[in-house]
């Protein structure tokens, strides 16, 4: 199911807080350390009022091979590559090998570092979400997601935006088990608006075209 740009939560937030300046940094399938490194080098001197982070799935996702091994596999000649590719994401191999891009210790450190760098900003970190059926593709993912969400909660406390249960209740995840449908984005936007709007005196900054 295609989600239009206007239906994504960053867009919905821009629509809600039209007087605010937004800076959006989006990358697919990168680790939190990579994302945070990019954000820090661009934004350290800006000190925004609010920072919303959605990251962590790439850190905790179980793999059958390391990134370096995958890079080697991708360079295999065509006939071998075709044979190998079906093993790279094979659930039974993932279940047996359980390789992770980022350790829990490293993830925790990255979260702390980000908090220290942006100590003057209010950071909202979105809970990592994955559908239960993702476990069939990536055995071990649900336990890892729970463990990494616990780390986010440890470091960010009530600034973690707990979405997982609610997203599942509204069937807000796509068939790929990780990306959000329009109603998942709407839910995230509403939860963020509830937390940012009234509490932080955004009067004059809020305002949708339809009132």
């Amino acid at each position: 199911m295609v989600v239009r740009l206007e239906e994504t939560y960053p867009y919905l937030l821009r629509d809600e807080f039209r007087g605010a300046k937004f800076y959006q940094l989006s990358f697919g399938n990168i680790t939190t350390e990579d994302l945070v490194s990019q954000a820090m080098s661009y934004l350290t001197h800006w000190e925004p009022d609010f920072i919303i982070v959605q990251s962590g799935l790439a850190d905790c996702k179980p793999e059958a091979f390391t990134e370096a091994q995958k890079a080697i596999i991708n360079r295999l000649p065509g006939r071998f590559l075709g044979q190998m590719k079906k093993y790279v994401y094979h659930p039974s191999l993932i279940k047996r090998r359980q390789i992770f891009r980022v350790s829990e210790q490293s993830f925790r450190k990255t979260l702390k570092k980000f908090k220290i760098v942006f100590s003057k900003s209010r950071i909202f970190w979105l809970e990592i979400c994955a559908a239960p059926s993702y476990e069939n593709e990536r055995p071990g993912i649900l336990r890892r997601v729970a463990d990494y969400n616990k780390i986010i909660e440890d470091v960010y406390g009530d600034s973690m935006v707990k979405l997982q249960e609610k997203v599942l209740q509204v069937d807000g995840l796509n068939a790929d088990n990780v990306h959000w449908r329009a109603n998942g984005h709407r839910l995230a936007a509403d939860m963020l608006i509830d937390r940012i709007g009234p509490k932080y005196d955004m009067h004059g900054i809020r305002g949708r075209a339809n009132g």
Binding site: K109, K113, V117
Partner: protein
């Protein structure tokens, strides 16, 4: 801790510690090139007995980020 970082940076870049501020970055310090950046990483690792992760080394581009990274290791 911040003074120790400033001392290391000053020694690596050949400036006085007083010249290192929160905004110090390769844009402000002419001597901060790629080789000096690696020297800085090694010197900080030795000073604080830590080992930076490969992915975070390129991001250590100003004093504020360096200080936050080292604090995160210490916590």
């Amino acid at each position: 801790m911040e003074d120790r970082i400033k001392n290391v940076m000053a020694a690596v870049f050949g400036v006085s510690p007083g010249e290192i501020s929160d905004d110090s970055s390769p844009h402000e310090i002419a001597a901060w090139d790629s080789i000096k950046h690696l020297n800085l990483v090694l010197a900080l690792e030795e000073e604080f007995d830590i080992r930076f992760e490969e992915a975070e080394i390129p991001s250590l581009v100003n004093f504020k980020i360096i200080a936050a990274t080292i604090k995160a290791y210490a916590e």
